[in-house]
Amino acid sequence: MIAIVDYGVGNLFSLASSFSAIGADAVATSDPDIIRAAERIILPGVGAFGDAAQKLRDTGLDRVVIEEADRGKPLMGICLGMQLLLEKSYEYGEHEGLGLIKGAVRPIADVIPKGLKIPHIGWNALHVTRQTPLFKYLKEGDCVYFVHSFYGADCDESVIATAEYGVHLTAAVANKNVYGCQFHPEKSGEVGLNILRAFCELEAQA
């Protein structure tokens, strides 16, 4: 079973539907026991980092997610959920993240050339920089759907894919059993569903 962590941020309808479409058993939950019992965890999120991080802490689910990740359970953050995995964010102030992946969240305005629109919205090709089991069904040139104004900076060797938007922006990260996608696999058609499929097939790491 896959636990989609429901900490009161955003709409989990599409994520739950996309797992259902690939025949995976997923449940949106805020129950720590269900999250602990799950084989895999999805950390979703939309909106502002500070607000989401606070809600995650207020519900105590931040500890649950960190503990389960430390036990080797496959965990994937999506969009803001990916950003929450990093150490900190500079979105409207300075906020602590979960620190499961090295790096900080910064505005894309700092790095992209002038004239490009913000947010980075639409379909963009994934450039795989490090092959991981998450991308086992991915083909060169496959596009996924992005909507974001902030990005994962200084993720260094945790970066597994980038997307070109004037510069190479972090599109996906991984550190052992912990994964993060800046894009929305649940909105990226068959390519996205295949990434979710691959996530469902990941083995737990000791």
Binding site: S14, S17, S18, I121, G122, N124
Partner: protein, 252 residues
């Protein structure tokens, strides 16, 4: 590189797609769910569902259809039509919409854009503007293009973007239905005014019209059309192939 988006628009009334549709291999050609699946499988980058229902039952049916679609179509869904309050945003977002398009509702109450953007984020709020030239000036029209609001369109669009509209759909009433190409002059004026994504609507008659649009106005992010896709006059896969051949980034 970010690709240029191709967006079919489905008008839905009482749970059925309006306008005759002619597709081989589609059992139920006026089922919004079936048509959405078809487009999704054939290269559409995004879908717009436009609710043109007047009755409360029709609205309920639309919401059910939207839920059904969002369960089986995994590309971004924008919903428009009858969006007048933040509660209307809530209603369609809960059914799986990703973005909500406002038109007359924002003209009646411009604060709607600000309120919705504050609650759901700019990326969620799409301004759809019906624009027509009146004595050489671009004017905003309301009520499906029937009523001249007297507002100057470029200023209105700028104001909406400032209030939090994250995307602008520019529908030229002058070129709509004429099928001789998008309204490049109007779109250029909008692109030079706002920095948010601009979606061109109204006037596409053939593949070449999209190529001309993206070549002449590199700032336009997407092209939207309805009947030419529904009637099979333009197949999205052919359009994408032609875009790629012409050096326009396209998702295939």
């Amino acid at each position: 590189m970010i690709t240029k988006r191709i967006i079919p628009c489905l008008d839905v009334r009482d749970g059925r797609v309006v306008k005759g549709i002619n597709f081989e291999g589609l059992q139920d050609v006026s089922s919004p769910v079936e048509l959405a699946k078809y487009y999704s499988a054939n290269g559409a980058d995004e879908l717009v569902f436009y609710d043109i229902t007047a009755s409360a039952e029709g609205r309920k049916l639309f919401t059910e259809i939207l839920t059904e679609t969002a369960k089986s179509v995994f590309i971004p869904l924008t919903v428009g039509g009858g969006i007048n309050t933040v509660d209307d945003f809530d209603r369609v977002l809960k059914c799986g919409a990703d973005k909500v398009s406002v038109n007359s509702g924002a003209i009646r109450n411009p604060n709607l854009i600000y309120e919705a953007a504050k609650r759901y984020g700019d990326q969620c709020v799409v301004l759809s503007a019906d624009v027509k030239r009146v004595d050489g000036v671009f004017r905003v029209f309301a009520k499906g293009g029937r009523e001249n609001t007297g507002m100057e369109a470029i200023e209105w669009i700028r104001r909406c973007a400032d209030m939090g509209a994250g995307e602008i759909v520019v529908n030229s009433i002058d070129t709509d239905g004429v099928k001789r190409g998008f309204d490049l002059e109007m779109l250029d004026a909008v692109c030079n005014t706002v920095s948010v994504p601009v979606i061109a609507s109204g006037g596409a008659g053939c593949i070449e019209d999209f190529i001309t649009l993206f070549h002449n106005l590199p700032k336009v992010d997407a092209g939207l059309a309805a009947s030419i896709f529904h009637f099979g006059e333009v197949r999205i896969c052919d359009l994408k192939e032609k875009m790629a051949q012409s050096g326009i980034p396209a998702r295939r």
